[in-house]
């Protein structure tokens, strides 16, 4: 067999596996979310006997979905912006200011990724208790999310700052630009894709994050993942879990594809670890 034939054969096999890998699970989830409670889906039916959007409207009206969505989608953009602002100076320093120990600093940035999420969550709560700062769950989760996702933002922005060209900065300076004008003329154009990428990565991570939201937020602060977890655990209702899974996964897939396109147009994808 020629290489081309082998490739097309392997590709056929792989496409078949991927159908099983992705298509079947998601189809099942969509079908389960459409099961009408009037007629249960029994194993002797290939498709649900009666389909309706009852589960979707019911979840929307009679569960904690609305507050969870509100929490998730206010937390994520604020986290993304705050993290970006916090990451900027460090990234600038790591990319453009040579100093002894810079490589060590770059490694230390990764610290939040090395400590297991649940350890961070539990002992962050212990610190909050110790300091008596338990009034605002929202604020506590916000702080933890910012720290947890700073590595992604710093890594992405460091690559961005490295790509700013020194002659552009020098030219702007020679022409008498103020620091702000210099930033806008020389830095911003090269930096823009990294800024968007950082915002998107942190936004997605914050929406998906479970450990912190679950431990720090429990019992009364819910996000979409913690709500899904409760529907997978003590009160397992398959159609409800299907609805929540789809609500969690669909927007993120769209955002991620957007991110991929963005990164492809800009810089090496590996800085995100998600490329």
């Amino acid at each position: 067999m020629t290489q081309a034939k082998i490739n097309s054969f392997l590709m056929g096999v792989l496409l078949a596996i991927c159908t099983i890998w992705l298509l079947v699970p998601f189809t099942m989830a969509i079908l389960w979310s459409l099961v009408d409670p009037a007629q249960p889906w029994t194993p002797d039916h290939l498709l649900p006997p009666q389909m309706s959007t009852y589960r979707w409207t019911n979840m929307w009206e009679n569960s904690a979905l609305k507050p969870a969505l509100l929490n998730s989608y206010t937390l994520a953009p604020i986290t993304a912006i705050v993290t970006l602002l916090l990451a900027m100076p460090t990234s600038y320093c790591l990319a453009r200011v040579p100093f002894p120990g810079r490589e060590v600093a770059k490694l230390l940035v990764l610290l939040p990724l090395v400590v297991p999420g649940f350890v961070t969550a539990i002992f962050f709560t212990a610190i909050l208790f110790q300091l008596g700062l338990t009034q605002s769950r929202f604020l506590a989760i916000l702080i933890a999310h910012c720290v947890l996702f700073l590595p992604y933002a710093i890594r992405t922005l460091t690559v961005g700052f490295e790509q700013v060209r020194q002659d552009h900065i020098d030219a702007a300076r020679d022409l008498g630009a103020s620091p702000i004008a210099r930033f806008r003329a020389a830095y911003l154009p090269a930096l823009r894709p990294s800024i968007f990428a950082s915002l998107l990565i942190v936004f997605i991570q914050s929406i998906e994050e479970f450990a912190i939201a679950f431990i720090v937020g429990s019992p009364d602060f819910t996000t979409v993942p913690t709500l899904l977890f409760s529907r997978l655990g003590q009160d397992f209702i398959r159609p409800d879990a299907a609805v929540l899974s789809l609500i969690l996964v669909v927007p993120n897939v769209i955002l991620m594809l957007f991110l991929e396109a963005l990164l492809k147009s800009a810089n090496p994808t590996l800085s995100s670890g998600k490329g």
Binding site: L108, V119, I122, A126, P225, F229, L248, V253, L270
Partner: protein
Amino acid sequence: MTWRRCATVLLLLMPGLGLIVSLIGMVVYVAIAQSFGLYNLNGDSVFTVAHWAEMLDRKLYTRAVTYSIYIGVWSAILAVAFAYPLAIWLRKPFRGSIIIGAILKAPLLVQGLVAAFLFINVISYHGIFNQLMQAIGLWDEPRRLQNDRGAIGVLFLQTWKNMPFALLLLTGAVQAIPDDVLDAARDMGAGTFARFRKIIAPLSLSAMQAALVIIFIGAVADFSFQVIAGPTNRQSLAQLMVFVRQTSWHEAAVVGVTLMVIALAGSLLLAIAARLILKGPFSR
């Protein structure tokens, strides 16, 4: 370096790196201190090793340790083992290779809890997998597959979720190997396996180590896959930590510190083992 410059660097690092080091440092410090009886939230703090002694004595704890290591090591090995052939196959672009790459990377986009739900939905008692096995006559009746005792479900989920990540790292490393090197090996009569063993694997070692370590750390600390799809007669360390915290912060701290030590030591051992196996003890 002048003082002024030094101060500038410190000021610049403060909001980003400074915040990371202080908060994560505090978290690690509080965990260690609490495991020795300090930072008591409900009474007097007394330095003691009693909590360690008590936990080390409990079967629940030792079983959680071995179970978490089992999950961590196997998840890392399986994900990398599946990713390697795919990375080598996708080394040279061909018609459709971009689509294949995209499909293979898709699980990266699926949140862990959603993945767990999709999985238990497919393998449920009257689920599509059981139906299929009955339809083709392999099984006479449906089998209970969820929460299986060997934790095959958890390992499957970990591999499903992490293989794309290993693939991402390995593809880059494998693509960086020049054709000349592989052609030379082929000319000298190296077979497929010898080329992998002597050329590809050593040259992509650091990517493989990174993949092994990152997947290991994630899987050893797994909570959600274990709670949803894991065996009900044992607990992972993260699960145990959440569970014992309801009664004692200090015992939870013992489990937390154990988890960090295992993550760190296990990562080092895995990286060293990969190096020794692929490069031999004496080469550099």
